[in-house]
Each structure stands twice: as C-alpha cells, then as structure tokens.
Amino acid sequence: MSGVRLLVGTRKGAFVLTSDGKRKNWEVAGPHFAGWEIYHLKGSPADPNRIYASQTSGWFGQVIQRSDDGGKTWDAPGGGVTTGPGGMPTGESNKFVYDDSPETGKPLTTHQFYDGTQKPWVFKRVWHLEPSLDDPDAVYAGVEDAALFRSTDGGKSWKELPGLRGHGTGPNWQPGAGGMCLHTVLIDPKNPRRLFTAISAAGAFRSDDGGASWKPITKGLNSPFLPDPTAEVGHCVHRIAAHPSRPDTLYMQKHWDVLRSDDAGDNWKEVSGNLPTDFGFVIDVNANEPETVYVVPIKSDSEHFPLDGKLRVYRSRAGGNEWEALTNGLPQRDCYVNILRDAMSVDSLDRCGVYFGTTGGQVYASADDGDTWAPIVRDLPPVLSVEAQTLR
C-alpha cells in the first residue's frame, strides 16, 4: 500500500502529514519541537524512516534533530546524556565551524556586507538538509552564512566542504534580504560526485568532484539590480530543481526570471514566457513528466504575495515558456500569502502529487498533477518548508 508523508517545517515547529495513496484524507502530527523555527526536514532516499531536521532559534542557536522511525520520535544525534564520572561528551551535532585550517581551508575570512564592507563569516543556521541518495548516514547541510557542510555519521558531527567558499569569489558574495543562505543542494543521481548549490545572493555553483572544488554556473543569468547584470556572482537565485532522470536539465526560479539549462548549468536561457510575473521563490518538476514544471508567481520583490490576490500555481508542460494557470481549489480573491523557496515538493505516485505551504499556514495538495487543489491544513504557523516522501 503506497502512501505519502509530508514533512512540514514552520516558524513554530514541525508537522508530519500522512495519507494513503489516494491522498484525500490526511493525518496531522505535531508540533514537534514546538516553539522553534524548523527551517527544513528531509528524509533519506535510502531509508525513508531516517529523517533529518534543522531546528533553530534566535535564542538558542542551531540544533540538528534526527528521527529513525519516520518522524514519530526524535533525538539530537550524539547529544544524549553521558553518564558516569569522566564521561566525555560526544555531542557535536549542533557544531558548525567554518574550516580555516591551512591544509584545507582557504584563507577566506570575510564576505561583502550590504554596505559594501567586508564582514567575517558567522554561522547562523541550517537552511537546507540534503540526505545522500544511497547512504542514510550521509547528509549535506546548506547554511547561513553561506557554506556547505557534510555529515557522514548520521548528523553526529559536521565538516565544511571549504572549496565552495574558497573557490575565489567568496569575498564578493553578499546577503540577500533573508540573509546569505545556501538554500539549495542537488545531488546528480547518475553521478553522485556532481553537486549543485544555490546561494542568495551569490548565485549557483557546481562541483564535479564530490564537493572538493566548485565553479559558478551563471552564464545566461541577467540581474539588472547588479552593477554588471551578467556578473559571474551576485545573482539572487531562489531555487533550482531537476528531474532525476535528466540531471543535466535544471530549472531555476531567480529573484526575477524563470530559467532553464540543458547542460548542467553551463548555460541558462530564460523560459518565463507568458507568466504574469516571473518573480517567485519555488520551482519544482513533476516526478513523472520531466518537462512539466511548476512555479508560483509572486507579484514583485517589494510585494511578496500573489498577483491580484489570486493564488495561482503555473504549470508548463513544455519545459518552460508556455505556462497555464492552475486555480481549481485555490483562493482566487483576497489571498496575500507567500510561498517560500523550500515550501514546494512533489511525490512520485501516478498521478503526481504536488504540495506547497504558505506563510499563512496553509498546506495545499494536488493529487492530479496540479489540476485540482485542496488544503490539507489551513492554520499552521507560517510554513518554511515542505518535503514529500513517497512510501511504498
């Protein structure tokens, strides 16, 4: 019996939503970690019951939580009670320390700030967790200030992959309005040594050697808010998505513009086409149709809500350029929520389930490729992230 589990991160806790394959009736469990900001949760493709969660707080900092039973119970890995005199603590699961070692860390200590001055890198939180495709104990963490970390022991300890910050352009990176966050990590399923990351507001990067070295992949991006609109770095990339069967085809929702690359990011072309506005945060690809793409257009960078108060998902079945509005079941008046960059996901059932959460606390679901929608829940705290797990 197939089913779907949605992992929902919110401003005030995590929720786990489950349904059978029909995806009509949902059970809502939570809040887990009540009162904490849960930026992201994601399950291991190799073991769906292994789920990692980023729990953060302006007061208490970063905590990494892990569940080994599908989200029913949680623990901070390596953070258990030590007993007996002299029992040394082993908990390093919350420790994210930038690599400044002379052996592997480049002498990179500052990045550009809003005012043009250089500021030191300071760890703030984990925005995104991306588990390995084949090892439940391996997981990447995209963090603010922007860097990529990896754990190979189930989240007990973390080590930076310093080649990303140190590849040369780091001093020119600067924060987007939400902070200088590494929010997207994609693993090429055909070549796990190929990784993609995206950073606001530095751009997009690719590694072909397991994260040791990186290069910007921004050719074709045009950002008029930059002094040089086609600069190598500085683009505010909001999200990148790919279909597992075509890892060289990437879709990007940039600050403004929806783009596509068919050569693993070496070249991009705009595919905004007939979208009513091409500002937005989320983008995702139908699990069964690699050329079917979803975005949620947002009015503008100064008005973060749907155009005309109508919540519309746009779907392209041509890989971009030609878009159709999906409105059935979505509010078409007086709707002024936002959909944040990690808050859309798809399942891999037939037909594809599409899900997104809003800053108004709704989680909407479609079990038919986006043709019709219904809210699963309406009144959660503001939703930061949604991840769908297909359970078979």
Partner: protein, 98 residues
C-alpha cells in the same frame, strides 16, 4: 550540588524536568557550571554558549540571587548560596521576539 534552572526549550532539548542538579568542584563559576552542564547534557552544547568562542549567546541571560550576572566574567565566583546549593543558577532566554 549546584542547582541550575533552564528555560523550557532547553529542558525539552535536554530531556529533563525541573531543575538540574550538578556536582561542580570549586571554584563554582558560570564557566565551571556550564562546563558541567554541557558535559552531562551534550545536546545543550552550543545553545547557551558559542561552540568555539564559549561566549554567552546574545539572548541568553544568567541570573542568581536576584542579580543579573550576564556581563560578569565567566570566571567570577558565583554567590555563596549558589555554590552551597540553596539558590539556583538561572539560565534565562531573554524576553524578545514573537
């Protein structure tokens, strides 16, 4: 035994109820109390003090015996009632935010 009072979120994280009691050899200071606390509850490492600098996080306060000790040196001896276990060392989340 030294008594430590934690804010609710950190009690949840440490999986404890009520006050924590710690055996801390003298001198009893904020540093020695927090070292003992983190050794016993590693999940709290990084939540009260920075992992690397060991500095108090900005929105954490330390109170004891009706005094705000947050800005004292971490090596300043705590008041005698705390060292004697008659008063708790209070770790507090500042009132801020929504």
């Amino acid at each position: 035994m030294i008594r430590v009072e934690l804010p609710p979120h950190l009690r949840t994280l440490a999986k404890v109820r009520g006050e924590v009691q710690l055996d801390v050899p003298p001198p009893v200071t904020p540093r020695s109390v927090l070292d003992a606390l983190e050794a016993r509850y590693p999940a709290l490492r990084g939540t009260i003090r920075d992992h690397v600098t060991r500095e108090r996080r900005a929105f954490i306060r330390f109170f004891a015996c009706s005094q705000d000790l947050s800005h004292d040196s971490p090596d300043t001896p705590l008041p005698a009632p705390v060292a004697q276990g008659t008063e708790p060392f209070i770790v507090l989340g500042a009132i801020a935010g929504g």
